[in-house]
Symmetry: C2
Subunit: 332 residues, 2 copies
């Protein structure tokens, strides 16, 4: 049994962490829910019992074994080391430590062995990266993966609970013919798509695209994979969709890809050509698996394979992956 | 002055053809609006004058010089030859004749000279193809284009006026907590994205993707270009967005690409990195130009260039391109 804390417990990911711990029957002996001042005193339910939210502060990590953290990068840099000092292991969903060479970056279906060398913090990768990595890794292992590009169709939940609220409010306003209020997203999201609202680096790639590139290489332990991405927000509530165009190391037919993916952990093949039924975010919502379909030979590359995937950003892209890492810690 | 007919005048594209003829002051001496039985008698306004819709039938093409046609492939196969027999030139927006070797397929910014060899019918390309071709062609001419992939974010208007209605009705129902009715799209479009609802060929590519591949080669007169695509519908009303990842023939910097595009016809560069402001469908709606941004060197290929583009599916992707072809006919 573990003494668990959730840092950022009232956020979009935090509340899913709570539900996922309960759903997967994680052996919790005590549970602390931590958040910023304005959420203190709010009550959340875990296994039928109300738990009051406490203030996120270093002392809150006393008597805690595992912290599931989904705050901000800034808060994580402040509080994760404080938790580690107090003897806890932190599974951190922010980008604060992901590229730190002393911190493992783990997708349990890909590199579970990396948790062994943790120094108190284990980083949970970026959502669109996890969702791409789950089906790509078994393909990489069997056929090699020279390069791939991911074009994403990312839900607003990736921005947090306010993203969901903003899409809903803007959509209502649009349909009522009222002016659209932009609170947090830089552009209207209702009935629109826009290039991901993260900062653009000197190479012209935005932060979300850069994460796909560098995090995948770290997780796969292979810096030779050539990766590119275009990350785009779409007016969808919570699951991400990605079009992947890949060059494999050797030729593989769509059937060979299907065979590999049919036994791959965390993958669900939805590839119903006659009914034009493929991965869609409304169907991957609240599912643990990454849906994969539109598997076809890709004209783009000599050993090309293209596919369309969709996974729940809040679950496999965040909360579920973090809880799976915590489960790995149980057997460490 | 020309005697003009619009076949399919009451559809989403037909009504834009009417507006575009007026807006661009096309020299119309007489105008017939043709549609199926259920629209006969409806009145549409052209230059302040009401015109009653007539039945689409072969005799309706008597005394017509130019037909702008946006019906269905089946209707076009039936009525376009009938119009040609009566002496009209048909600019056809359906896919019926696009790949016919006797029919030119024209994007006026790319291959205007092809109208010269028409035999009565000139085909208007598929919407997402036109929108990609406008910025790609000047790049192709200057630097070569070995291969590209387009991942699309396609508006519902591409399916016709009913697509717009279905998105609106489903969104209203969703927000009201009422059941979502699927009338024509195979899947819920409100707050969802799905693989383009066209038939999948034996190679696994859907019809929309196949059009991008074969039509681009015909328009560019270059079968050596390697093309791939993933076409996806998004809950956006009328403009299409596309992420393009391209391998050029020679190295070109983003600045060199910008320079070429800055004087390219039909292109508008929107590439404001500090403000994260790039092409978006709500802003390209009702614009004639294709917006281009996120121009960056692409890691995917040796001479790679990536960009994000957006263009009005009903205008440049359909009605405007057809009227531009009609304008070329004036000087033939």
């Amino acid at each position: 049994m573990k003494r668990v804390a959730i840092a950022g417990a009232t956020g979009a990911v935090g509340t899913e962490m709570l539900k996922t711990l309960e759903k997967r029957n994680f052996p919790v002996s005590s549970l602390k829910l931590l958040a910023s001042e304005r959420s203190v005193g709010r009550k959340l339910v875990f296994k039928g019992k109300e738990i009051a939210v406490e203030l996120l502060r270093p002392e809150a990590f006393d008597d805690v074994d595992i912290v599931l953290s989904s705050t901000s990068g800034t808060l994580s840099k402040q509080f994760s080391p404080a938790a580690v000092e107090r003897g806890a292991v932190v599974v951190d969903n922010t980008s604060a430590f992901r590229m730190d060479p002393k911190v493992p970056l783990v997708v349990p279906e890909v590199n579970p062995e990396d948790i062994k060398w943790h120094n108190g913090i284990i980083a949970n990768p970026n959502c669109s990266t996890i969702i791409a990595n789950v089906p790509l890794f078994p393909i990489y292992k069997k056929f090699g993966l020279k390069r791939f590009v991911s074009c994403t169709y990312q839900a607003v939940s990736g921005a947090g609970a306010w993203g969901i609220e903003e899409l809903r409010e803007q959509t209502k306003a649009y349909l009522a013919g009222e002016p659209i209020v932009k609170n947090k997203f830089p552009h209207q999201i209702a009935f629109n798509v826009f290039s991901h609202n993260s900062a653009i680096g000197p190479d012209g790639f935005n932060e979300e695209e850069a994460k796909m590139i560098r995090e995948t290489r770290k997780i796969f332990h292979d810096n030779s994979i050539i990766i590119s991405a275009t990350c785009v927000r779409v007016p969808v509530f919570r699951a991400h969709t990605e079009a992947l165009h890949c060059e494999l190391g050797v030729k593989a037919s769509p059937d060979e890809i299907r065979e590999v993916l049919s036994t791959a952990p965390g993958v669900k093949i939805i590839d119903d050509v006659p009914n034009n039924h493929f991965p869609m975010p409304i169907e991957s919502t609240e599912e643990y698996e990454v849906r994969v379909g539109r598997i076809r030979e890709d004209y783009l590359f000599p050993n090309g394979i293209a596919m369309l995937i969709s996974g729940d950003q809040l679950l496999k892209g965040a909360a579920l992956n973090a809880v799976q890492i915590a489960e790995l810690l149980l057997n460490l």
